[in-house]
């Protein structure tokens, strides 16, 4: 099932939740909508599901206008952020719900419904919880039941709103892996919303980065991480050092100090230099474009994180390998290995 979204606009009062969004999603993709809160990602998901209607724009499934259909007719499985399990029904009845409310003409008999629910509970590995009520389940179990319930109607699209948002860190990691393998198994076009960049990069085949109701970049996880299209994407994905610089005649200046790096086509004027923490090469004093004094060092795992004060007064954090232990008070030379310059 392919999904196409064209020029979607949705306003809540004066606030534009979606401000002209275009997006094409291929069959069987596992797509992440990534952005800070208020970026419009959940609104986009709800419009695709039919739980909200856009003010302008088109949504089509396999080239067919989806906006003429109500949520119940779109065959979309929706997993809510807080799961929205029916609290007065057992796990079994929750999963069976979508099958039981089908029109009489296509509704399956009770035995087939039971068999199908059993199959789904097996798929999410929770068949032993069939008789429990949602309030008796842990967060991770509720999450998987919500997914089984959404899958019961054999959805053509699976939509997940912050699927791991309400879970603790460990369960979250397990479920990420599980969701990815589940997607491989059932291969339904799936979109999930998240504000957690690590989650998006780890789970999705393709990531859509959104901000203020607009799409900033669409690409593979590697793409958006290595080649951020905008300053926002660079700042949002991965931890970045941001330095105010000035570009003129193809040279980059920080304060009155000219850096050795090339402007790489950045237009002249006040700009921002973005460098990933681990892309700042650390050497002896005077070895790089910048000098700075180490204020503080913390070592954990394979890296040491140092707080460095540059001579211009800017304070940055860098991640260096532990081949040479840094000392507080030491003067070091810094050189951006990989960087991007965006107009300020």
């Amino acid at each position: 099932m392919t999904i196409e979204v064209k020029n979607l606009v949705k306003k809540f009062g004066a606030f534009a939740a979606l401000d002209g969004v275009d997006l094409k999603i291929g069959n069987g993709e596992l797509l992440a909508l990534l952005g800070p809160s208020g970026s419009g990602k959940t609104t986009l998901l709800r419009i695709i599901a039919g739980l909200d209607w856009p003010d302008l724009g088109e949504v089509s499934f396999d080239g067919e206008n989806a906006l003429v259909r109500g949520a119940g007719e779109r065959q979309v499985g929706f997993v809510f952020q807080h799961y929205a399990l029916f609290r007065h029904m057992t796990v079994f009845e929750n999963v069976a719900f979508g099958l039981r409310v089908q029109p009489r003409s296509i509704r399956k008999d009770d035995a087939s419904i039971r068999a199908r629910v059993k199959e789904l509970l097996d798929l999410v590995q929770l068949d032993w919880l069939a008789g429990r009520y949602p309030s008796q389940l842990s967060g991770g179990q509720r999450q998987r039941i919500a997914l089984a319930r959404a899958l019961a109607i054999a959805p053509r699209i699976l939509l997940l709103d912050e699927p791991f948002g309400a879970l603790d860190a460990k369960v979250r990691k397990e479920l990420r892996q599980w969701l990815r393998s589940l997607h491989q198994e059932i291969n339904v076009t799936s979109i999930f919303v998240t504000h957690d960049q690590e989650e998006a990069l780890e789970v999705a085949n393709r990531v859509v980065v959104m901000d203020k109701g607009r799409i900033e970049q669409i690409g593979t996880p590697g793409d958006v991480y290595d080649n951020p299209a905008t300053a926002f994407v660079h700042g949002f994905i991965g931890e970045s050092i941001v330095l105010p610089v000035n570009v003129s005649d193809g040279r980059v200046r920080l304060g009155d100090k000219a850096l050795k790096i090339a402007a790489e086509g950045a237009s002249s004027g006040a700009s921002k230099l973005f460098v990933r923490r681990h892309d700042m090469q650390v050497g002896p004093a005077g070895s790089g474009s910048l000098d700075g004094s180490v204020r503080q060092v913390r070592s954990f795992g394979p890296i040491q994180r140092a707080v460095v004060a540059l001579c211009g007064g800017e304070i940055i954090e860098i991640d260096a390998p532990r081949d040479r232990e840094l000392q507080a008070g030491e003067i070091v030379g810094l050189e951006p290995r990989r960087y991007r310059i965006f107009a300020a």
Partner: protein, 303 residues
């Protein structure tokens, strides 16, 4: 006196019930000195005894003052039976009406966004803020012989005032807020996610309402019905204005209590009053039990 009892049952919205913390342990710093605690408890007990328990005891004592047979004779008097029948009928009508309207109003207010919502919520509370006598007078103005629709009704030989329709209307008006107000906070807290889930799973609007919304609020509905019923049976002011006090025809129990009392028929008067008092006690017990279930419905859905 029974009227006072009925009034003491006056509606308390579930959200107004404070979430009482367990009493502080004796060595807790927040705990008061022992004599203060005993003093306060004694004061509260004395107050309750004088203003609640004593009147209740007096009602039953007076009703049974001439013996059990006189008590039952008073209750089986045709006038008393007619009043009991009318009260039950009026309560049944107004509770059913308010059940339907209350659930619909609460559903609309809690689950949908529309302009004028605040005005609607205020309007629902109106019967609580208006004196019942005024509520009764409104119906006299509308349906009375000199009222807006009086001449038309008269020419079509339809009796509203001083008859069952008028009493039922006035009672329904006065008791309208109970069901709606019991449900609005409950439904608002539950949100719309379960309904959205049901819709996206292919359920129709009606299926969603009967399979998801209604089961989630069933205890709240019962709670509203219970309070609505107690007030409907005990309503005096509004009914007094529209009933016309036709003996054996348009007297409800509270009206009959007053009439008999004024005629110095104390045993008969208090016998009927004792029925209303028992209704009050049963309502109180049922209310306490229901509140426990409503707390379950209010339990947050996730941790």
């Amino acid at each position: 006196m029974t009227m006072e009892l009925q009034q003491s049952l006056e509606y308390a919205a579930p959200e107004a019930r404070s979430h009482v913390r367990p009493f502080a342990a004796p060595d807790d710093v927040r705990s008061e000195p022992k004599f203060v605690r005993i003093g306060i408890i004694a004061l509260a007990t004395a107050f309750l005894s004088v203003f609640v328990v004593l009147p209740l005891v007096v009602v039953f004592a007076q009703a049974l003052s001439k013996g059990v047979s006189a008590y039952f004779a008073a209750l089986s008097d045709p006038e008393a039976l007619s009043a009991i029948r009318l009260t039950l009928l009026v309560a049944a009508i107004s509770v059913s009406l308010n059940l339907v309207f209350g659930v619909i109003a609460a559903w609309a207010i809690a689950k949908f966004e529309f302009s004028g919502k605040t005005a609607l919520v205020t309007l629902i509370d109106l019967p609580f803020s208006v004196s019942p006598v005024i509520s009764g007078l409104v119906f006299v103005l509308l349906f009375g012989a000199q009222g807006y629709w009086g001449p038309w009704l008269q020419s079509h030989n339809i009796h509203v005032l001083f008859a069952l329709p008028g009493i039922a209307l006035a009672t329904s008006f006065v008791t309208f807020p109970f069901v709606a107000r019991a449900l609005i906070p409950l439904m608002q807290e539950q949100g719309t996610q379960e309904e959205e889930a049901a819709i996206s799973l292919g359920a129709s609007g009606l299926q969603t309402f009967f399979r998801v919304t209604l089961p989630n609020i069933k205890w709240g509905v019962l709670y509203g019905v219970l309070l609505c019923n107690a007030r409907a049976m005990g309503e005096f002011g509004a009914v007094s204005v529209v009933s016309g006090h036709v003996r054996g025809e348009t007297n409800t129990m509270p009206l009959l209590v007053e009439i008999l009392y004024n005629e110095y028929q104390f045993v008969s008067s208090f016998a009927i009053a004792s029925l209303l008092a028992m209704l009050a006690l049963i309502t109180l017990i049922a209310k306490t039990m229901l509140e426990r279930h409503i707390d379950e419905e209010e339990l947050p859905h996730d941790d």
